[in-house]
Subunit: 443 residues, 2 copies
Amino acid sequence: MTTPTPLSGFPEWLPGQRIIEQQIVERIRRTFELHGFAPLETRAVEPLDQLLRQGETSKEVYVLRRLQADAEDPSDAGLGLHFDLTVPFARYVLEHAGKLQFPFRRYQIQPAWRGERPQEGRYREFTQADIDVVDRDDLPLHHDVEVVLAAADALAGLPVPPVRIRTNNRKVCEGFYRGLGIDDPAAALRAVDKLDKVGPDGGVRLLTETAGATEAQAKACLSLGEINAPDAAFVERVRALGVNDPLLDEGLAELTAVVEGVAAHVPDVVVADLSIARGLDYYTGTVFEIALPGFGLAIGGGGRYDNLASAGTDRYPGVGISIGVTRLLGVLFARDALTVSRPVPTCVLVAVPDEASRPGCDRVATALRRRGIATEVSPSAAKFGKQIRYADRRGIPYVWFPGAGDAGDEVKDIRSGDQMAADAATWSPPEADLHPVVAGSGG
Amino acid sequence: MTTPTPLSGFPEWLPGQRIIEQQIVERIRRTFELHGFAPLETRAVEPLDQLLRQGETSKEVYVLRRLQADAEDPSDAGLGLHFDLTVPFARYVLEHAGKLQFPFRRYQIQPAWRGERPQEGRYREFTQADIDVVDRDDLPLHHDVEVVLAAADALAGLPVPPVRIRTNNRKVCEGFYRGLGIDDPAAALRAVDKLDKVGPDGGVRLLTETAGATEAQAKACLSLGEINAPDAAFVERVRALGVNDPLLDEGLAELTAVVEGVAAHVPDVVVADLSIARGLDYYTGTVFEIALPGFGLAIGGGGRYDNLASAGTDRYPGVGISIGVTRLLGVLFARDALTVSRPVPTCVLVAVPDEASRPGCDRVATALRRRGIATEVSPSAAKFGKQIRYADRRGIPYVWFPGAGDAGDEVKDIRSGDQMAADAATWSPPEADLHPVVAGSGG
């Protein structure tokens, strides 16, 4: 076969980058658990009718087919890969409701797939780290605050630039559009969500063509989207636009509570931004977008979905937020903004004097591993200089020489060249050398 | 919508089971890192021509198609989900060879997909935990021993019954078949691999029909498969069958070295078992099967593949072993053989006296989390009795009452009923309560 080439939109990391990803995911996971979210995974596939309930994203779904389809066994026909972790989670809650305790809190860190055209920050396969809370019948608004605080805490624990969580509320937009007299507020929201791509003139055109807005109404929609504030000051500016509607009032009250609720615990993280629409149709109230200021990309988002998990008279409103792990890493890797001290877990290489001594070298490695020191045994009994160069090329800081000294074994720090007597039953490296260390390089 | 139902072959765990899975995966991961294997992940998809190089598994591949296929952008046409982690790893090595250090050692814990008929222990989506070592041009046999020792160490660290690693060598079988005079040793190997399903008579029939064997030759093949031993005693029994071939000699020497190499470090783990064939065509020497004695199922396998990762004159022989995480858990969950002390990470629930006090309760939670204690704040300011019952239902061992005592806060162990004064800046639970504890129940 010929040398394979990368697949556009399906990123793969080199070993050092993968260690960075793993440590980042691990820290996110730990923070989510500290906030009382339980781990959960769902299968990668959902029936297409589940995936297509949302409309707009249908074009991006990857459908599965068995290469040699089995007409006698249609049980895996009509399946597609999930495009986010919220739709599968809502399905999971409905399916297992009888065995869950509510409010049910879970985090979920898994890949998702979308058949989009690849571009910077847009992948066809990408890992997301989500938290959500769902309850039966009603879910108090303080959970909208809670998921932001947990996500902000998780992100603050990473070696990445500070984030901003831009927050809006669908009720503000829909209430405002309704109060303006626009016939189809949902279509208006979809048009406003495209403003980034089509610009203000294109936005006015979309609003008049798809949502039945007059030009004056369309311009008022754009004015609403220009409002943002780090505190409740946005309310007055919305009021100044002179639109009245009960849903608008409800949305403004909710958005104020979320912005003030977060600001009471962490400053400078949340900002009310009335341009935020979010592409997914299932949101019904609060919506979030996690921005990485200076990088021009959202690296996450989320919101409140009151109707996603419903079956018959059972209703499970939820709220959640998602950190786009692959997107975050992709943008930082492209700027060399994350470093790792070595691309292997190995701390010690046990040198092998000759192949007959390999079992003894293996026993040294076992003794070191038992005390939590990642160790491998040299792949060959080459000259010691060559074995040291092998360790050096792989970034392994220590080489162990069994029986090298008068008193027994010796260990060399190959960075400094220092070599000293050592006993595999007691020697430990400095804490900083035990594991690969990930850091932001500020690059 | 109606209540969703499970998809056959796509298992999903309940929250407590998922905590067990996560801790098991975490322990496997740590052991693999202690042995100097670096983490790696590959994308879920491969071009079909990569996946179909192996022949037999082609019928099981899930092919992807975009729901609204884009004729202008065929870049994601002809992709399928990987059915193991070895084929993608071999492709990764070829693709990134210029950026890797050899021998390259990695572990990989990810799902794989096969469109097989579901049955006990056979899933359509399943997680595997693999380690592999590949080198350029040649890979010494001691790595075959190394991967068994690392996998055995990983499995010994789990609360699961002791495993047996049944080992064979393709060269023994192929050399033996060749020495017998069978025309198509590869076909003979495939026939022998089906013995489990077809029985001895069916095996003789398959061998005569598909591999061109005489009945006497077929019976000799079956006799070879009946040989097993925990040490090198198998060699004499093979020799007693009176077949001679240089490849057989090579295989017997390799198999002896692997069995004795492992036994020198861990007793009672490895056994030479000449019935082991393994279904995948890419193995060229050592093959492994991880058995869970008493459960009647293999929970992993692996082997040596000298030709899988080759492009032009570049050749990267490899050896690896795979733990079937989903299969292991499936069989143990079905027998209630694993338990967890609670199905949530949460150690403390902070009670909320009234909604106006929620921000103060959030601050208590923040203080506890900062010291690594997983904490959540009560979802409602209900009567304390109801809040305690909420904690009890979820398995949370402690409830914190802000300002409940004369001296400040109090904390209650809701299992014993003991309540005492506590300061969120200093209080810690006993170590055993800090995280959910997973154990084997011996069931």
